[in-house]
Symmetry: D3
Subunit: 238 residues, 6 copies
């Protein structure tokens, strides 16, 4: 029933390639099928003004799409002179998701800036970005540990994200672009490796959905996040 | 236990004052306790470029806060020259929420622009804004019906919104600012009068929350939305 | 002869509601008939760079209109990304008017930021804003005095503003929007309680006006400002 | 008493050099002492959207200062990415002043855009700009008449501007920069050749000024405008 | 002598991977050693306003760097709200270079927009971008030919670019980042496959260079461009 | 053959008027025929952040055109809110050209800011700007020497610039606007008084040009720069 022929609870082929950026302290090229996002983690030796002298660090994220990552060309945000509302929403979501599992009190007064750049987009770029950013962030902390700047990796859990939706009346896992453009409801779940909820964002695209459907979507998300957590550990050699 | 002395499932005093703007086609001054939002609906005789010749109308929203609506002054966005990411997120949410119950195919090729301006902020401005905007939108459609521009009110249901959260370990309804600043998790629910979910946005502020907690928050939201739907009908004289 | 039926030298009903903003150090909701402006005064514990170490304080103002304060909707300046020339002119005028009666050397190195937000506009928003801002500013100084941060209210006089114009060949006091859109000349006067001129801004909308007419407008302004000064004292309980 | 040694009612040496721009349809290099402003008038074959199909033309103005026209360098507005409030106020004033004497119904649906660029600034740049712009505008209309695009020069009168002020307690004519920085009150008058008032803008810099003083400043302005009107006629060979 | 151990006239390993973007009409991932640039060509069915009704097409380019393509993170231009002067210079250069070999009169009134996004930067990003863009552009024309929108590929020659410089007193070919940061002079050459000069941009970084040195750099460039032209033909299967 | 009747290797009449700005520390009004550029040099008592504590000074430039310096009016960059790519390219070129001959280590930690404002444009504005800026910069250093802030003029050579081009198949010196709009190739040369190359920027406007043609253009440039260097010395009284 799905355009891709996948089972209802089947994710796309997911790969995580850590170290994809030669210069970054941490990085990961994440692919959810034809959605490809390059995530890098850059360490900066200061925190934003509102965090100064707090003894805590900060993790933040920026997101962008290459103009021709999409089926038809999207205008370049740098040329338009501002980031869209969608871009800002996504980068705020990525930052919050990573901070939810980061023990900022144990990382020193530094900032880790995550850049998520979409090289190719086929639906689910924000969930792929969160999943890959976790790997990049972990690598950056490994780098700081090697330099003896921190004693242990200041992460309380792993974090990953997946989208689910009601497509042609059926709950399905990991929407691709054709499904995303034509679904009745769409929900992004950001969960920890241990199953805690970090973010839920569900939206009715057509008619409102029921509370039972929300539960079904969450069950699918649990399955997907379980698979992503395994791949994250493998990518990091844990 | 709550700073305001409210019961866990008790909302603040809510009032809806329709027709609060002398010139707008529809309007409502909504108060959730000390949170006051002025909502207006303006009819424009055209649709955005991507909707032209679709035979459909459009509903969109803008959101702003008066600089001194907040406990300490917030910089004016017009003076800074751009809207914050938070503002954009909120106004996109308001627009999606209203479109979810609007039969855009039955309103003609017009745009209704909702303006939500926060006069005073004590938590929950976005949920108050959605709740009041529904009243303003309804009034604007009544205005168009009086002018014989539409035959019937093109709304499939009512819509309202409420925030819930885990505060000091307990699920509570309708967070005010002191609770919002100090809660473990925060979820905004946008539901229709008939209980369908239009949007769910849950965020762990500290530790991740469980799936059982999400259900408890949703149950509280159902109660709150039920009360808001009654107030909306009363305000509109339905 | 006037659309409102007022006498030539009759002002609209004016009310001043001090303390209209729950959180601000000083505030006033001012109404000149259907023109409603919410004025707040926020105290900030620093001065702009060009005033540092001068031993003096600073008073400045910002102005904005809610998009649907006007008969037809006006674009939101925050969404357009800049303040119009008109907005900047008005906020500069408000700031100068208040500084003219403020003894900045007696207030300490603090800034008082006045926000004037037009909730409803029916002509004369800038004059209403100046009149209400004086009350908000006074309240903010009372607040500082209660905190023993200043010994006395550092204001040398009161200040208020009124517009006059040549409408259908007659000098009239306090133009409303229908008169403002159709007058031959329009002059805004900012006067102190003791009758000193702080600002005069007269503009011929159609044909130039004569020096005798300027004198007639000034005489009307004296009458109006006298009435406003009484209302200001009453509002402040002086 | 004046730093320049001038009599109280003596203007600086004023020169008007018409045709100073090789390419413009009209132009004038105006000098009020050390204040030098290059004014050009450009004819454009269309009107702004709000004037379309009105059968009327439009006159508008832009103003700028070269960064080193001032005693110490002023930041370039193009580099800062926006025009200051002061710049916008001045260019709006120039535009209004010229439109007050232009019979826009007799010029066809064209726009004349006036550019006033300050090459050197020693006080009074806006008044010099208005005085020189009139000459540039007149020349542009002469150009259109030579092309038979208009039958007669559509100007009902001439217009010029001068600043006056209370300097060390005395009313003086045509303030230069040292006087302007140190005066008690400052008023700009835009008058027609026949003595009608187009704009009055008076501001108390220190203490408020009296209504009698306003009259004295206006009397000085009349004298100055009379002299400027003669120079304008000479420059245009009328 | 060179940090990389290359001979003075030896280029880095260059690869051109056509079709690297799934959705674009033409694309190429170009690598000059550790400098990696993703070039895509997007066909748009219209031309800029200044080309309308000319019967000619248009080719233009945009350039960007991923924030962590560089050794230390570079701020994201979309977040800063503007493109730097360097970015604008480079994208203008790429556009001119491609137009120099495009027969715009034979392509119809369409625009081909080239996007060059630097994934990794080790010097010479603009020359790699031009070299790869030619391949992307050629592919886009092949695509149009397959659709019978054009009869033949409207390119009069191939084009490629290379940088040369005076490094430690010696003329060297294809500067990498360590050389670029420490050279005496730097020249970028854009040449056609037949050896014609499209652009020369030479800059003395330290002391001025001589006219003899310019000739030596040009000779090196000829060698490099010859090699690049072979690789371009191979990549396109010509 | 040239529209102006000049010989192929004949420059336009060039004049350099030092001290053209009353307030600037150095200045020069440079004319290349009908191209007039006002160059000023402003001394600022600080360096940009990236130069702090380096013991070195900085020289930088800004460039602008008056809106009606051109044959038809060009939009004002300050009104558009940004500088064009062309403007940025030119001001970066002027800055680099001047720094190439400035011994920044001998000028102290100050900045000299060059402003080049085009009063009238007939081709070659950037080359005139560089040529005049050298004179303004030299004057500013003379000013600093008179104040004993520097011991000697920290310039290693003079610098000037000229454009050459292939016009109707012939290499010509110093293109004016009619030639520039219609030439096959255009090259700007920035050379020192002793003949060293500081910058070469050659662009094929139509067909690519040959390496022999580049040499011919360089030969012409040598002749032109020789003449300019003489005029620069005369202007400075050296």
């Amino acid at each position: 029933m799905r355009p891709s022929g996948r089972a209802l609870d089947q994710m796309r082929a997911v790969t995580l390639e850590p170290g994809a950026c030669k210069y970054a302290e941490g990085s990961c090229l994440v692919k959810f099928g034809d959605t490809h996002v390059l995530c890098s983690a850059s360490v900066e030796d200061r925190v934003p003004p509102f965090m100064r002298n707090s003894g805590k660090g900060w993790v933040t994220a920026e997101y962008g799409m290459l103009p021709r990552s999409t089926h038809t060309r999207t205008d370049r945000e740098a040329a338009k002179g501002k980031q869209s509302g969608r871009t800002q929403e996504i980068q705020r979501l990525i930052g919050r998701s990573l901070r939810a599992i980061t023990q900022t009190g144990k990382m020193g007064e530094i900032t880790i800036k995550i850049d998520c750049d979409v090289l190719q987009a086929d639906g689910g770029t924000r969930t792929a970005a969160i999943t890959g950013s976790y790997v990049a962030l972990y690598q950056a902390f490994q780098h700081l540990k090697r330099l003896n700047m921190i004693k242990e990796i200041p992460l309380s859990d792993s974090v990953a994200a997946i989208s689910c939706g009601i497509y042609k009346g059926q709950p399905v896992l990991d929407l691709d672009y054709p499904e995303d453009s034509d679904c009745d409801a769409d929900a992004n779940f950001v969960l920890t490796g241990m199953g805690g909820i970090v973010e839920v964002q569900g939206t009715a695209e057509g008619a409102p959905f029921s509370q039972a459907q929300l539960s079904e979507l969450l069950a699918l998300a649990n399955k997907g996040i379980g698979e992503l957590a395994v791949l994250q550990r493998q990518a990091l050699g844990l």
